[in-house]
Symmetry: C2
Subunit: 480 residues, 2 copies
């Protein structure tokens, strides 16, 4: 393979979509499976998911949420129990009709989401107020047949996600849970993936089918399109009534419970790639990087090698003792230049270079991936590397925030809306609250309401479409 | 509910099968899903699986094995690429034939196992000897339509498992991997679940369809039936040839690679329940227990409660600081007796009782779940509890070893074999190595060769069936 074939061959600016696909494949995060719409995660891709899972698990556990397992098959009759919900998912359901040679009577859906199955179980498990709140999270996959072109992490027919399902005796407690989960989502995405998000509500039109309302976090991607990063739904009693999720309260009166559901998927990894990547490839935030520091020894002779490696191993041990994930690239047959490109493509946050001259000077060279800055530090300053990684993590978020801000515009004229929408961006615009205006805007511009940010109630402006009194200021954008 | 309804209503001795089901359901480990053959894992059940997963992950990682993700859908054409393999799984495959309203051309199998899919990917990823060894593990589920009655963890149509798939340049290296994985399985099952196992090879008849040979670990259950606890297969080049898993060696010559695959499933949890449980319910080994120590305060008045709780909280903190998983049962409306039964049913390894008299005596009462022994220790001896939990873990394994030994018999006469097989057990018996004898024995007694223990080659005896020269001494048993 030539050097070009190995590296990314298009710029992020010139062809964002092709750039994205190349980064995913060439950084070996994922690959296409033999079935259209499906992808395989290679270890470097899956480990990012594992890192997110561990962070979420820790935060969920502190809130009294525990994990469970649900099977992937849901009978058609059960999926149809909440009608709107079923109508929403039906066109994209994979159906199992046979086991071996035998036809199955009530055909089986591959889980598009698990509300119906989880709540069938919950209605058996919950009898009394003592059984509440019940909070279970499921790390599984969901399947929804995608007819559009596959895009790893963003548009696939099977995707990894977590879906949480909680049940409460008190309405307000359930609504509080919805918001607290959204907060966990927001903090985790910002702190771990260094991506800023906007949180708020979905419009009636865009809410989850079956929810009373949906809260969401949205991010703006470098191509100006919006990406839904996670949602947390207040289900009210919309499911507890048909699924009979009931409990006896303290006065022994039977009540229908209040419910929430919420989820994030591996599209978070897609967002991370898009937001931070550059023309050299992937750029990983240190917190989720499978390797945080790669050490590349630089030598031309065995003598030099023998001088370098004892010190190099010492540094490796120092870093490991600080719980830093280190890798030594000791491949003999490759040049340092090749190795630099390789690890840059893979987005490793920090590279240590160490050659005979560095040994003389009692120093190492550090190369930061995200801004490609190089600095030297002395052998006695190795412990600074923890701090440097933390700084990289913070800087990456700050840079992403600045870019997101640049891509967010206040728009007050519909003509301006239409002329600028082609370039993308988050558009803050007044809205009367009517679905009619929302649909017209979508029809004429391709933009929908991504999120009505918390605290964006507004009665001073006029709806961007119909000029009537504004109720709130949503963010409009074209989305993924 | 009456007390009887809550507790286990049959003895393990009298009706093992019913006892097992009651323990699973009443200890709230799992429940039946709406589709026949499928179960749901409740948090207490799933957390045992998570604990095993974490242990295996740590051990796999040290061996350079990393995790990945494979989709659940495999095209029929791909599954059929290795013929024997396909024939083995075909009768139990779930088939997806439609997505939404559309019929799918090449119908899709729900993964019964992932060799075919993994190796299709591997053949793309491996070009050179530098890409080897490639070692990836997948934590997922497998689906195999079960027609027999569902038995949670033991016989279900979808089950949680891990499947590891490695590729090597050198045959011997692959064979070494097979054995090292089996060792990890054995140590983990013994150390974490306190279950002794016998390791060795499967016979030709019982090996994995598509393998050159299969190594296995088997355990004897209290009802005398054998349970296969995990298998590790040497695949040779049986898959690398049809799937073209090839590499250029150091001399630039193209070679077919050598492969292994291996897996354990949630049936390990089933084994744990069967081996350790008793008439009061589940008995959990401390290492995998979601709660290791439950503290039950004993009081009749608020005054007493106010005396107990400060000390109780102090003890809780002391234990938590030692990373012990503690739970305080502060349910006000329930009696201590009810709570004792509840936690015994759930198998929590150690219970701390603390009442006003204990406060006076500066002591707490410890009740061990596995042998129901009670001891008192002083407030100044709390740190002993770590050691006590370790001892419980060891004792449980020792007891299980004694029972397994009692259930293992040397048999030299076929008449004795036939008369004793009804009572179950592991039968060590000479065998000539011919599948014919193996099949006859199975036909006439229901027992098959579970495992040919490593080092059991034997040329001094006569085959239990045909009286010809013995080649090895397998363990025969009826199995799950
Ligand atoms: Zn309007
Ligand atoms: Zn024979």
């Amino acid at each position: 393979m030539s050097k070009e074939d190995i590296g990314i061959t298009v710029s992020k600016e010139a062809d964002f979509s092709e750039w994205y696909t190349q980064v995913v494949l060439k950084a070996k995060l994922a690959d296409y499976a033999p079935v259209k719409g499906l992808i395989v995660l290679r270890p470097d891709g899956y480990s990012i998911w594992e890192s997110l899972r561990n962070t979420f698990d820790e935060k969920f556990f502190k809130k009294g949420i525990r994990n469970g397992f649900l099977p992937i098959l849901i009978p058609e009759s059960l999926l149809g129990k909440e009608q709107k919900h079923f109508a929403g998912f039906n066109p994209e359901v994979f159906w199992v009709t046979h086991s071996g040679e035998n036809e199955i009577g009530d055909r089986l859906a591959l889980r598009p989401t698990s509300e119906t199955l989880a709540y069938t179980m919950y209605s058996k498990w919950i009898q009394s107020w003592r059984d509440l709140p019940l909070k279970i999270n499921f790390w599984n996959t969901a399947l929804r047949a995608e007819i559009k072109a596959t895009k790893p992490f963003l548009r696939t027919s099977e995707f990894l996600w977590q879906e949480g399902h909680t049940v409460h005796a008190i309405k307000e407690e359930a609504e509080k849970e919805v918001i607290e989960i959204l907060e966990i989502y927001k903090n985790t995405v910002q702190d771990e993936l260094a991506i800023p998000v906007v949180t708020g509500k979905k419009s009636e039109k865009e809410k989850f089918v079956g929810a009373v309302y949906t809260t969401t976090m949205e991010s703006i991607m470098p191509d100006g399109k919006a990406l839904q990063m996670g949602t947390s739904h207040f289900l009210g009693q919309n499911f507890s009534i048909p699924f009979e999720v009931k409990f006896s309260d303290k006065d022994n009166v039977e009540q229908f419970a209040w419910q929430t559901s919420w989820g994030v998927s591996w599209r978070l990894i897609g967002a991370m790639i898009m937001v931070h990547g550059d023309d050299k490839g992937l750029v990983l935030p240190p917190k989720v990087a499978p390797i945080q520091v790669v050490i590349v020894p630089i030598y031309k002779s065995d003598d030099a090698k023998n001088v370098i490696f004892p010190k190099l191993n010492e540094i490796r041990q120092q870093l490991e003792s600080k719980k830093i994930r280190v890798h030594v690239d000791d491949r003999n047959e490759l040049t340092p230049g090749y190795k630099f490109n390789d690890w840059e493509l893979k987005g490793i946050p920090l590279r240590i270079e160490i050659g005979p001259k560095d040994i003389e000077k009692q120093q190492i060279v550090l190369a930061k991936r995200y801004n490609r800055e190089k600095i030297s530090i002395g052998f006695n300053e190795i412990e600074k590397i923890s701090t440097i990684l933390d700084e990289i993590q913070k800087d990456m978020l700050e840079i992403a925030k600045v870019k997101a801000k640049q891509n967010t515009i206040n728009i007050s004229e519909y003509s301006e809306f239409k002329s600028k929408i082609g370039k993308g961006g988050f558009f803050n615009a007044y809205w009367c609250g009517k679905t009619e205006c929302e649909e017209k805007i979508k029809e004429e511009t391709g933009a929908d309401i991504r999120v009505i940010p918390f605290g964006s109630e507004n009665t001073n402006g006029k709806c961007i479409y119909c000029n009537e009194q504004s109720k709130e200021t949503p963010i409009f954008a074209r989305g993924y």
